[in-house]
C-alpha cells in the first residue's frame, strides 16, 4: 500500500489558460525519501500544495493510504495525514524553541506535559540539544532554526512529511545535516518524505528523484 497516491492529477489556476500540473500519476511509498526537481515555474510547488491538502486537484485524485482526499476534511488531513515543514521564517520569535514546537499540539488540545515530552523528543531527534530548548529562535543558527521547524512538523506524527525547499537558506554543511535527518525519518521511522528542491546535492540524498517539466511529472 502506498503512503500517498496521485492518480491523473491535473491543476489549472483559476483564470489560467493551461494546466500547471498535467495528468500526474505516482505512488509514494512509506519509508522512502523523494526529491522533486525541475526548472522554475514547472509546477513543483503547485503539485506539493495538492499533496499538502492546500488545494484540491482540478481533476484526478489524491489518495492518502486508502482514503481519497475528496472524502476527507482538509483540516483533519493536514493535521493527521501530512505535515508541512516550513522554512525557519515560520518560527515565532517571542516563543522559545520548545514553545514553538509545542504550539500546534497545544492548539490541538494535547496536555502540556505530554506535548513537552514529545517536543523534547522531536528536538533531540533533529539534533537540538536540551540546553537550547529554552532559547528564543533568534539565538539559534539558521540551520538550527530549520531543524526546529522540522521538529515542529514531526510532532504531529503524520505519515507523510512535505517540504518545499527546506534547505533554500542553508549552507552546504547545514543542508547535509537536514537531509540526514530527513533520511533518518524516512528510513528509521518509516515515514514518506517528499522534498521539492533545486539543489542537486539534496536530490542526490533522496532515494528517488521525480522530475517536473512543463507540468508533466516523470519518475527517473
Amino acid at each position: 500500500m502506498n503512503a500517498l497516491t496521485l492518480e491523473n492529477v491535473s491543476y489549472t489556476y483559476p483564470g489560467g489558460t493551461s494546466p500547471v500540473v498535467k495528468n500526474a500519476s505516482f505512488g509514494f511509498e512509506a519509508g522512502t525519501i523523494y526529491a522533486v526537481v525541475g526548472p522554475s515555474g514547472s509546477g513543483k510547488s503547485t503539485l506539493l500544495s495538492m499533496l499538502a491538502g492546500l488545494d484540491m486537484p482540478g481533476s484526478g485524485d489524491v489518495i492518502l493510504q486508502e482514503e481519497n482526499l475528496k472524502s476527507l476534511d482538509l483540516d483533519k488531513y493536514r493535521r493527521e495525514g501530512v505535515s508541512i515543514i516550513f522554512q525557519a521564517f515560520c518560527l515565532l520569535p517571542l516563543l522559545t524553541v520548545r514553545e514553538n514546537v509545542c504550539l500546534p499540539m497545544e492548539m490541538q488540545g494535547i496536555p502540556e506535559a505530554n506535548a513537552r515530552e514529545r517536543a523534547a523528543e522531536a528536538l533531540v531527534k533533529v539534533g537540538i540539544e536540551e540546553s537550547k530548548h529554552k532559547r528564543f529562535p533568534s539565538a539559534l543558527s539558521g540551520g538550527e532554526q530549520q531543524r526546529v521547524a522540522i521538529a515542529r512538523s514531526l510532532c504531529s506524527g503524520a505519515p507523510v512529511l512535505l517540504a518545499d525547499e527546506p534547505t533554500g537558506n542553508l549552507d552546504g554543511e547545514n543542508t547535509r545535516i537536514v537531509m540526514d535527518i530527513l533520511r533518518r525519518l524516512a528510513h528509521e521511522e518509516g515515514r514518506c518524505v517528499i522534498v521539492v528542491t533545486h539543489d542537486p546535492e539534496v536530490a542526490e540524498a533522496a532515494d528517488r528523484v521525480l522530475r517536473m517539466k512543463d507540468g508533466v511529472l516523470t519518475a527517473e
Partner: protein, 543 residues
C-alpha cells in the same frame, strides 16, 4: 515559563504606554478644564459713573444754586435700566443704595474744617431786627432744635433775594437756619423749610434737624470690593474687613475708622439705627445728606448692626474746598444690601442708585462686554470704568502654564504612542505568523480564532485597565498638588479628574487595537490557505 514572563512583560509595556498616553492627555485635560473654569469664573467689575463731573466749588455761589448731588445722579428710567440689564444673565446689575440712618446715641461727625455740611441746622424762635437785600438780622434767639453749639443771642443770616419780602422788622417767629463754621466762626443761612408758604410745621423741622445731627449715610451694598474707590485703592480697610457677598443676610456694618475712635467703639460692638425709607443717591461728594421735607423719610425700621470693620478714604479730611471728591463721608456706614428692610426695599421699585456695578463674567469676554456697555451707557449719559481684576496676568499665567505642561507631558504622550504602535505592530505580526503556521498545521478555524484572539484581547484590555487605573491614581495624587500650584495665578475648582479623557483615550486606543486584531485574524482565516502558504514560502525565500 519564559512565555508567561514575556506575556507579562508585554502586558506591562502596553499598560505603561497606555498610562503614558492617558496620564499625559489627562493632565492636559485637567489643566484645560481648570483654565476654562478659571476663565469662566473670572469676572470684571464695571462701574457706571456720571459722564461729566462738573467743576464744583463749594466756596462760590454756584454751590448754593446747583446741588451737584442731584444733577450728578442718574435717575434711571425703566427703559434705561432694562437696556443696562440687557445682558442680565451674564452680569446682573448690582446697585448700591443709601438711606438715612438715625442713631439715638451717636452724632454725625463734623465735616472737614471749612466745609459745608447740609446736616447742620439750627432752628430758633427769634425777632427780626433788620432786613437787607441779602441778609437778615435776628435777635432774642431761643433754641428750638438742631445744632445747639451754633446758638447765639443775635444772629446774622444770609438770605436769598426771593425771601426778602417774607418777613417784616419786629416779627417774632420760627427760623430754620443752615449753619457751618469757618475759622471758628458760625455762619448762617436762612433755610426755606419754615417759610410760611412751605407750610411745614415747626415741630417737624425741629425733629428733622435733630435727626440730621444724628444722621448717618447708610450705604447698602452687596460687596464693598465692587466700589470703584475701593478698587482704586482710595478707600481702604483699616481694621477687620469690608462687607463681602458672604455677609448677605447678616446684620453687620463697616464704619469709618475716625467714627470708631472718636466714639470709643470697637469691632464687635453694635450700632442701632432707625433706617429711613427714603432712598437717595449714595454718590454724595460732599459727604452729607440733606434731609429736607421732600427727602425726609416717612417710614422707619429699627435695625442693629455689628461692626466688623473700619474704613478710611484717602480724600476724607484733606480735600481742598475746590476739589470735587467722590469720597464717602466719614459718617457713612456700609451694610449688606440684604439688610435693607423689606418695607424700604420693595423689590418692584426702581430706585436711583448713583453707582451701578456690573460684573461681566468670563475673563476672555471682558473687553467685548465693556464695549457693549460703553455703547449703552453713553446713550444714558453715563460712562463705564472697568477693573478686569488682573485678568491679563491670569491669562498670561494660563498660557505659560499650558506651554509648560505641554512640554512636560509631550514625552509621556509621544513615548506612549510610539511604544503602543510598536507593540501593536509586533502583536499583529506575531498573530499573523501564528495563524499561518497553525492553519497549515490543520488547526480548525474556530479554535484558531479563539486561541489567537482571546489571549491577546485579554492581555490588551487588562493592560488598558491597568494603565488607566495607574494614570487615574497617579493623576489623582498629583491633582491636588497641581491645583495648589495653579491657584497661585488662577482660580481653581473642586472638580474631580477629567474622567472622560482618562478613560476615553486608552479605551479608544484599546478599541482600535482590538478591532485591528480581530479584523486581521478574520482576514487571515478568510484567506485562501494556498495563498497563505505560498506567501510565507516566498517570504522565506527572500530571507
Amino acid at each position: 515559563m519564559k512565555r508567561r514572563f514575556l506575556s507579562l512583560l508585554l502586558a506591562c509595556l502596553t499598560a505603561a504606554s497606555l498610562f503614558g498616553l492617558s496620564y499625559g492627555l489627562g493632565l492636559n485635560a485637567l489643566f484645560l478644564r481648570e483654565a476654562q473654569y478659571s476663565t469662566e469664573a473670572h469676572y470684571g467689575i464695571l462701574t457706571l459713573l456720571p459722564e461729566n463731573v462738573p467743576d464744583f466749588n463749594p466756596g462760590t455761589n454756584a454751590y448754593w444754586t446747583a446741588d451737584p448731588r442731584r444733577s450728578l445722579i442718574p435717575v434711571l428710567t425703566d427703559d434705561e435700566y432694562e437696556k443696562l440689564n440687557k445682558h442680565n444673565t451674564a452680569y446682573p446689575i448690582h446697585p448700591r443704595y443709601m438711606t438715612l440712618g438715625v442713631s439715638a446715641e451717636y452724632f454725625r461727625l463734623p465735616p472737614p474744617e471749612g466745609y459745608y455740611d447740609y446736616a447742620d441746622r439750627l432752628v430758633v424762635e427769634a425777632v427780626v431786627q433788620s432786613i437787607n437785600d441779602d441778609s437778615l438780622q435776628l435777635t432774642d434767639c431761643v433754641f428750638l432744635g438742631g445744632k445747639a453749639e451754633a446758638l447765639q443771642k443775635s444772629i446774622s443770616a444770609w438770605l436769598s433775594e426771593d425771601l426778602a419780602e417774607t418777613w417784616s422788622v419786629g416779627d417774632r417767629t420760627e427760623f430754620s437756619l443752615r449753619t457751618w463754621q469757618e475759622n471758628g466762626l458760625w455762619l448762617y443761612r436762612v433755610d426755606k423749610e419754615l417759610v410760611p408758604k412751605g407750610g411745614t410745621k415747626p415741630e417737624d423741622v425741629v425733629s428733622m434737624s435733630e435727626d440730621n445731627l444724628h444722621g448717618f449715610d447708610l450705604v447698602f451694598t452687596e460687596d464693598m470690593g465692587w466700589i470703584w474707590r475701593v478698587m482704586q485703592g482710595e478707600l481702604c480697610c483699616i481694621q477687620g474687613r469690608l462687607i463681602e457677598e458672604t455677609d448677605a443676610g447678616s446684620r453687620v456694618c463697616v464704619v469709618s475708622e475716625r467714627f470708631l475712635r472718636e466714639n470709643d467703639l470697637a469691632l464687635g460692638d453694635s450700632l442701632l439705627f432707625r433706617v429711613g425709607d427714603k432712598l437717595c443717591s449714595q454718590f454724595a461728594p460732599i459727604g452729607a445728606l440733606a434731609y429736607t421735607t421732600t427727602q425726609y423719610p416717612r417710614r422707619w425700621a429699627e435695625e442693629a448692626f455689628e461692626i466688623i470693620g473700619t474704613f478710611a478714604d484717602a480724600d476724607n479730611g484733606n480735600w481742598t474746598a475746590d476739589e470735587f471728591a467722590y469720597a464717602y463721608s466719614e459718617s457713612t456706614v456700609f451694610v449688606p444690601l440684604s439688610a435693607l428692610p423689606e418695607t424700604i426695599y420693595p423689590s418692584s421699585a426702581r430706585y436711583t442708585p448713583a453707582e451701578l456695578t456690573l460684573l461681566p463674567e468670563g475673563g476672555d469676554a471682558l473687553e467685548r462686554k465693556l464695549g457693549w456697555m460703553q455703547e449703552i451707557a453713553a446713550g444714558i449719559g453715563l460712562r463705564c470704568v472697568m477693573d478686569d481684576r488682573g485678568w491679563s496676568a491670569i491669562a498670561a499665567g494660563i498660557d505659560a502654564e499650558e506651554a509648560r505642561l505641554r512640554a512636560r507631558t509631550l514625552p509621556f504622550i509621544l513615548s506612549g504612542a510610539v511604544l503602543l504602535v510598536l507593540l501593536f505592530a509586533g502583536l499583529l505580526l506575531t498573530v499573523k505568523r501564528k495563524c499561518t503556521v497553525l492553519r497549515l498545521a490543520g488547526v480548525p478555524k474556530r479554535r484558531l480564532a479563539a486561541r489567537t484572539m482571546i489571549p491577546s484581547l485579554v492581555l490588551l484590555w487588562s493592560a488598558a485597565a491597568a494603565g488607566t487605573a495607574g494614570a487615574f491614581l497617579y493623576l489623582g495624587t498629583e491633582a491636588a498638588w497641581f491645583r495648589e500650584k495653579w491657584s497661585a495665578f488662577m482660580q481653581v475648582s473642586e472638580q474631580g479628574l477629567p474622567m472622560g479623557t482618562l478613560i476615553l483615550v486608552p479605551g479608544l486606543a484599546s478599541l482600535v487595537m482590538s478591532g485591528g486584531l480581530v479584523l486581521l485574524v478574520l482576514l487571515l482565516l478568510g484567506q485562501d490557505i494556498h495563498d497563505l502558504a505560498v506567501r510565507s514560502q516566498r517570504k522565506a525565500g527572500k530571507q
